[in-house]
Symmetry: C2
Subunit: 372 residues, 2 copies
């Protein structure tokens, strides 16, 4: 895949193809239709970006059920790809009406990972005239392989994130709180056009950089601290996810040593990951290097995850991931070393797995930066 | 309830009382224990703020199961209120081990609103040696009545939000995009100490202010536009939720007329809402006023909702809400009028329902502001 880095505003509309692929999956699974509740899956198939929807897909019909708040928006976003039904009271009431009006429906699938037990009870009680079968990852599997338009949007989101970081770093000083740095970074993300924050920004300094799941705190940055920033941007629903770790002030020899191990692990994995490889083998590229450098115990999480309409999606790059990475997947590469009480380093890039090899979407230096 | 507006850093630890109240609820429901999966419920009972946890509560035991990423944090947050188990692989594997080690457990509850069907299948398959009963709102009901410490935290979060708005309004100009305004507002929220954004900020201008569920877009603000800002802050996990609508430039007579109807509806409901009243009657205070002014068709959503550890929680203030509002609840009061294609106004405050009447936590002018 050649990455065209020019802005591409017009993308081929793939929704009909995606729906067709899903219908083929339903037929193979002996289902007469599928009721979708996963909002990212619904967005992928129809373009609808609202927070309240049910979607019915059969070989003949595509019906999107939402509420009055989205009356204007849904028409613009969905166009003719689905019939839209606006419900005044409950989406579920609308569902029974829509299903009741469709002929030859007996066996219906539902998304086992996106239906709360409470709503499952609705299916088997109010929806007792149909047989319900749990399905797993029918749409998620389609979403793993990004098309060119999707890669472009993630590339744009990656550009928003890295330009925001460029704007932010010159403003960081010791004495600022992590929350203040988060504010500068998030403002820069907005100024660069991010529609939202795909996950709570992590700005973690000093010993807090050793917490792999820190958020941002009132802690004030001290000279000599590691400062870890893990954040993302969103463009047309597609996410980027970037981490850089810098030193505020001058790096110590020990900081430099740990940093360089993570940097090389990141570079080896970003260059070495391939479509067709298992998630475990991809993870191992970075993990073996960190192990051999003597820090294996301190790399406690997995190497990465898919990104797209969600910031965590398939495939996984982890010790327990047996599946082959599909061509077209966009994944994070984010090795880290965390020494409790001392600090931690993580360097994360977003990489698309092209036919001829990986392409890094997040263009930002990986050398250790010493600020101020 | 008298609202002490001074900062209160030391709050009485109510976790043991909350757990005791839950255990009484379990006994009344003939359950030997409850497996909790709702993260806000787990935080309420134990103080744990991480994103991965299961909690088991019985008359004898309180066991929190989380993963290695939270090893340091969980000990600080939970203290001695629960026994903590750190799981290397799956929280569910840890659950079977913990339950297996407890005597006299036969009938266990699970949270029907917080268990995906996929995980429900785990309960009835891997957890087949126990009988599983769906439960609804056992902890949510406790959470409806805020104690003084909780009201204080929401008051602090309300102060963060209103001070951020004070900082933001002088910086707003026509020609700025909604995303840029969101950036200024969110930076101010961070500078005032917000731990995060309880929901995606809405900055909607001109005709977009008529979309009750807009987010923020690249649209540039024009002179004469309504500018609607709906946003919140988070302090120690507790949320605030505020909306103000201003005019950029000079307001037209029509804008002023619509605005004043919403302002009076807000003021009447904020002053008139009472503990003991049904959610429907509270909703009706604002709705009848807007109806009589001739705009009833354009107020399409409900008046408000509870806020606390979640930005939408019980109770509801809506036409379909039959339940009595409990004393100590903190609720939003957010009437609106939305004229498609023209614009909309919403004015939202957070109000605690004290024994002697309502107290408004969000101190910010409600008069129509004309900027620039």
């Amino acid at each position: 895949m050649t990455i065209d880095r020019r802005p591409a505003r017009v993308h081929v509309d793939r929704r009909a193809e995606r729906l067709q692929a899903l219908v083929e999956g339903l037929t193979a699974a002996h289902l007469d239709g599928l009721v979708l509740t996963g909002l990212a899956n619904i967005r992928y198939l129809t373009g609808f970006s609202g927070s309240s929807a049910l979607l019915v897909v059969t070989a003949r019909d595509v019906v999107l059920i939402t509420d009055f708040r989205y009356q204007t928006q849904v028409v613009e976003e969905v166009g003719s790809i689905a019939r839209v039904s606006i419900e005044a009271s409950s989406l579920w009431t609308g569902l029974w009406q829509q299903l009741g009006a469709m002929a030859n429906l007996k066996v219906l699938g539902f998304e086992t990972a996106h239906v709360q037990h409470r709503d499952f009870q609705r299916l088997v009680e109010a929806g007792a005239r149909w047989q319900w079968r749990p399905t797993t990852d029918l749409v998620e599997t389609l979403r793993e392989r990004k098309d060119e338009g999707e890669v472009h949007l993630i590339l744009e989101a990656a550009g928003v994130a890295t330009r925001a970081l460029e704007r932010t770093l010159p403003q960081v000083r010791s004495g600022m709180s992590e929350l203040e740095v988060a504010g500068v970074l998030e403002k820069a993300l907005r100024d660069e056009g991010s529609e939202g924050f795909p996950f709570p920004s992590i700005v973690a300094s000093g010993p807090r950089s050793a917490l792999p799941h820190a958020r941002s705190s009132p802690r004030r940055i001290e000279r000599g601290d590691f400062l870890l920033m893990d954040f993302g941007a969103e463009v047309a629903g597609y996410c980027s996810d970037v981490t850089r770790t810098v030193v505020v002030g001058q790096a110590s020899t020990e900081q430099r040593e740990v940093y360089d191990v993570v940097r090389v692990a990141n570079e080896r994995a970003s260059r070495g990951v391939r479509a067709g490889m298992t998630g475990r083998d991809a993870d191992a590229i970075a993990r073996h290097y960190i192990d051999r450098a003597g820090f294996g115990e301190l790399f406690g999480h997995s190497l990465g995850h898919g990104i797209g309409l969600e910031v965590h999606e398939a495939p996984r790059l982890a010790r327990t991931a047996d599946g082959a990475l599909p061509e077209g997947a966009v994944v994070t590469i984010e090795p880290g070393i965390y020494r409790p009480g001392w600090g931690g380093v993580r360097i994360e890039d977003d990489v698309v797995l092209g036919a001829e090899g990986p392409h890094i979407l997040t263009q930002f230096p990986r050398e250790l930066l010493e600020l101020g």
